[in-house]
């Protein structure tokens, strides 16, 4: 445990001090702590004070068998030579609501929009939740949820259910000649 970050340990709320651990190998070495979803803003503020100024990303993992979404906030510090901290939290799948952190980390604004459109997670206090990347591209439930089987939908919609065939074309030039018929 020689890589243990004393500053981070000091600043963390007392509740989570003994939960902080050092895991991973190679480029994925990191401090990790699992927190309750209500405390996420408080914890992230202390992590920011401890010198982890950049948000790398928010990974959302869907566990339908346990009925939860797991959110992994990855934070990195430039001063501490790119050290990584991951804050994990779990929210219920039926009621996926969590506080926004976009005022603490500016990049979180866009990462949270992504989490909203791909997983349907609501962020309380976020003013721009909308379809951003998926606009015009997909209509339906959030596609990265595990119970949305997009491959099956696509196979039935475009390939007639046959996996190794070419897509079924409703309209093609030779068969209908519809491009020239109107002349």
């Amino acid at each position: 445990m020689k890589c243990f970050d004393a500053e981070l340990l000091d600043k963390l709320p007392e509740k989570y001090r003994d939960k902080l651990c050092f895991v991973g190998s190679d480029t994925g070495k990191r401090h990790e702590v699992t927190v309750d979803p209500e405390d996420i803003r408080e914890v992230l503020k202390t992590v920011l004070e401890a010198g982890y100024q950049q948000l790398v990303g928010i990974t959302v993992i869907d566990y339908p068998d346990q009925g939860v979404f797991e959110l992994v906030y990855m934070l990195t510090s430039i001063d501490k030579k790119g050290a990584l901290v991951t804050i994990r939290t779990r929210i219920l799948r039926d009621n996926p609501v969590i506080e926004t952190v976009s005022d603490i980390y500016p990049l979180a604004y866009y990462q949270e929009i992504e989490a909203y459109e791909f997983f349907g997670i609501m962020f309380r206090g976020h003013n721009g939740l909308r379809q951003w990347i998926l606009e015009d591209n997909w209509a339906g439930p959030p596609p990265l949820r595990k119970d949305v089987d997009t491959r099956k939908i696509v196979l039935e919609l475009y390939y007639g259910g046959k996996r190794y065939e070419r897509p079924v074309q409703n309209r093609s030039l030779e068969e209908h000649g519809s491009w020239g018929e109107k002349q």
Partner: protein, 179 residues
Amino acid sequence: MSSASRKKPGFADWVRGSSVWMIHYCTACGAIELPPNMMSPLDLERWGVMPAPSPRQADVLVIMGYVTKKTLKVLMRLYHQMPEPRYVLVGCNCPATGGLYWDSYSTVKAIDEFLPVDLWVPGCMPRAEDWHMGFLRLREKIKKGDIRSPRPIEEPGELEEWIYREVKLREEKMRRERG
């Protein structure tokens, strides 16, 4: 190939084939092999092919790689802004059959449902020389007057609306299937 589109090549066809301007729109990943073609390594300008910044000056719409539904709407709009005669050259595998992204929920699987395609350049991605040959083949075809389909002469916007309707229909079908 419908026989109606075959006609005797004339002087106009020869002229059109000698200077094919493509529209400067990097649709997707296939666009990365266009710089070697446009710049010094292969130099397509010796065949009269060059990028035009606006659709009003372009003759050929080059589709480089996968087309998402959002891009398709842009492509249709561009196609209708191009003056007659206009041609469509499609590179890469993804617009032809879905390619590597065959199970993607956001890409269009067969672009010839929406646009009349004159030439396919298969490959993922096509090598720079393949793109070069593609343009040369298109040039030959234009010179022979041997283009694939009669051009649509409907009101601009009519087809666009049709596409929008079609995409919307599919999306609704998706939504219905998910319940």
